[in-house]
Symmetry: C2
Subunit: 338 residues, 2 copies
C-alpha cells in the first residue's frame, strides 16, 4: 500500500437542483483495520452514473438515503490488497459497491453484489462498463424485455450515454435497424458513422415525430428509453403494434421539480404494447451469458465501447456534473489508481 | 324465418362528443341471398361495448372506420337459419361479428372470428359475456399479463362493468385480495357484498390515493385498468415493486378531445413494473381453458355474472349511451330474438 490514509468523498449537502461541487466534501480517514471474514479493496476505477444524484436525496429507491457526512455510494473496480477471508484472496480483482473512496472494507457475508472480474483480455475498467453492469443492462434488458426479432426497428434514447451506446449496438447485433437519439450533432454523427445506427435524431434541433415517421413509417418495435419525458411521449405516439418499451432510465426527470405530463400513455393499450421497468440486479442469472456473448462481439470487432476517463479521485463530483451537462461520450469513469 | 326484411342500424353521423341517437339510423333491407360457402345467422343477442363509439370514428385501430350508411359493427350470438356451407350447418349456435342487424350473411372463408357456442348449461346470452369475449378478456389478461400470486393485492377499475365485474372475481379466485373502483355507492356495495371485494372505492367521492394507502400500504401488485386517466395516475402512484398493469380499456378518455396528462408514468420504471396493452383475440389459444375453468367456477357458485339486457334491436343506440352514462350493471346486452 502506497498510502496509509484513505481519501473519501462524503455528502456535504442535499442537492436542490443541479449537482454542485459543494454537495460533496473530500476528507482523509485512516484505512480501516481488516477483521476475520473481511477484506480490503483498493479502488482502481470508479463508475459515475446519473442515479448517483438521487443517492444524495432519497436513495433512488434502491439504497438507504445518505446522511450528511456519509461516504458517497458508487460502484468501482479494484484489487484485494489485504484479506482475512479465504473466499476473497489477496490479488483478486473485483467489481462492486466500493463507494467514492480509495480503500473499502468488505465483508464476505455482506457482499452479494461483489463479483470477481474473470475476463483478462479487455482493460480492467470495462468491468464498470461494457463488461459490467452498464453492458449487462443493455444486454439483459434487450434480451429479456424487448426480445427483438430480425428486421425490427429499435429506438434508443440517451444513445451516446454509457448504457445507450452499448444498447444501440446490441440491438443491431440482435437484428434490429436502430435509430439513436442524442443531444448534439457530434454525437449523432458518431451514432451513424461508428455505432451502426441507420439514423440519429438530435432531440434539441430535430422534430422527433417527423424523423420517426420518415424512418419508421410503420412505427417502432422496440424503445430502449434512458431519458423519459418528451422523448418517451414522441416514441409512444409512434409505436408499432406489440411494441416493447424498456424503461431503463429517466434522466430528463431527475432534475425536474414536477414530472413531465405524458400525453400518449394510451398508446400502450391501443398498440397492445408493453412498457417495463428494468433493474439490472434482477437479471443476475443472465450476467454470465451477457459477459460471454459481448466479450465475443468485442473480440470480433462487432461491438465497440467508449470510455470517458478522468484522472484522480478529486474529479468525482465534476465527473457526475458532466453527465447532467451531456458532456460525456461513452461510459463516464474516474481512474483512482493504476 | 319469421320476417323477410332485415332491420339494420347504420351509421348516420360521426359523433363529436357523447354518442347521440342521431348518430344512427334504422333501416329495413331485404335478407341477403345465401350463395355457396355462405350461411345466414339470425341474431338472438347483440353485445354493447364502449369501443363501439370509436368504430364510428376511426375503427378503434382494429376495424376499418365506418362510412355513413354502413351497417354498425358489433358482436352477437345467434343461430344459423340457412346454410350452403358444410362446416356451418343449420341449427348451429354461433357467436361472432354479426353487426347491429337481425340477419347477417357469413362466409366460411371469412370467419376467423366466428365461434360455435359449445356449452349448453348457461343461457345463450353468456356467449357475449362471462363465457365469451368479455369473460375471456378478464381471464386471459389476468392469467397471461398479471399472473397473480396467492396473497397479492389487485385493483380493478370499472369494476362493475362487463369485463370489470368478472375481473374482480377471477382475480380473487386466482388468490388476490381485490379492491374495486366504481362510480356509485350502489356499485361499491355490490362489489364488497356480492363480488367478494375486500374494499371498494367510489372514484367520484373517495380520495383514491387515501384509500389505496389504507388498504394496500405496500402498494398494489396487479392493476386491471378499464378506465385510464386519473385512476391510472393514482394507481401508478401506489404500485408495489414488480407490479403488473393490464391496460384493457380507457373509457375515461374516449370522450375527451385532449388526452389526460399522466404524471406518475415514471413509477413504471422506478417500481420495475410492467404495463401492457391487451387485445382478447391475441389470446385465442387460451379461450378453451378460460371457458372450461370459468364454467366450472359458475357451476360451483364461485363466479357470478350480471347481464343488463334490454329488449329489441331498436334499443341499440340507447344501450350504447347507457354505458357512457355509467347506468349499466354488468354486461350490457340487447335481446333481438328469442
Amino acid at each position: 500500500m502506497t498510502s496509509l490514509m484513505n481519501k473519501q468523498w462524503i455528502k456535504a449537502a442535499t442537492p436542490k437542483g443541479a449537482i454542485q461541487a459543494s454537495d460533496f466534501a473530500l476528507r482523509s480517514s485512516p484505512i480501516p483495520q481488516v477483521d476475520a471474514g473481511q477484506f480490503l479493496v483498493q479502488t482502481h476505477y470508479l463508475s459515475v452514473a446519473p442515479v448517483m444524484r438521487r443517492y444524495l436525496i432519497d436513495g433512488a429507491g434502491i439504497e438507504a438515503p445518505l446522511k450528511i457526512g456519509d461516504v458517497m455510494l458508487g460502484r468501482g473496480v479494484g484489487r484485494i490488497v489485504e484479506s482475512k477471508s479465504k473466499a476473497w484472496p489477496v490479488g483478486t480483482f473485483v467489481q462492486g459497491k466500493l463507494g467514492w473512496q480509495e480503500y473499502s472494507l468488505q465483508s464476505e457475508g455482506q457482499t452479494p453484489l461483489m463479483y470477481p472480474v474473470r475476463q483478462t483480455t479487455a482493460p480492467l475498467s470495462t468491468a464498470l462498463g461494457v463488461l459490467g453492469m452498464t453492458g449487462y443492462t443493455a444486454y439483459c434488458a434487450l434480451k429479456d424485455i424487448a426480445n427483438p426479432k430480425e428486421g425490427e426497428i429499435a429506438l434508443v434514447s440517451g444513445a451516446m450515454g454509457g448504457v445507450g451506446s452499448i444498447a444501440v449496438q446490441v440491438a443491431r447485433l440482435m437484428g434490429c435497424t436502430v435509430i439513436g437519439v442524442a443531444g448534439t450533432d457530434e454525437k449523432c454523427n458518431t451514432l451513424t458513422n461508428e455505432l451502426g445506427c441507420a439514423a440519429a435524431i438530435n432531440y434539441k434541433t430535430d422534430n422527433l415525430t417527423e424523423v420517426l415517421v420518415r424512418h419508421a413509417p410503420k412505427g417502432i418495435d422496440v424503445f430502449f428509453d434512458n431519458v423519459g419525458g418528451e422523448i418517451l411521449d414522441h416514441a409512444l405516439g409512434n409505436l408499432a403494434q406489440y411494441a416493447r418499451i424498456v424503461s431503463c432510465g429517466r434522466i430528463s426527470q431527475y432534475l425536474n421539480e414536477s414530472p413531465y405530463s405524458l400525453e400518449n400513455w394510451g398508446q400502450i393499450g391501443a398498440k397492445r404494447a408493453k412498457m417495463q421497468g428494468f433493474f439490472v440486479y434482477d437479471y443476475e442469472p443472465l450476467f454470465a451469458e451477457a459477459e460471454t456473448v459481448m466479450a465475443q462481439w468485442i473480440a470480433e470487432g462487432a461491438l465497440h465501447y467508449r470510455e470517458d476517463i478522468l484522472e484522480g479521485i478529486e474529479q468525482m463530483p465534476h465527473a457526475l456534473m458532466r453527465l447532467y451537462e451531456g458532456k460525456n461520450i461513452g461510459k463516464q469513469i474516474v481512474k483512482v489508481y493504476d
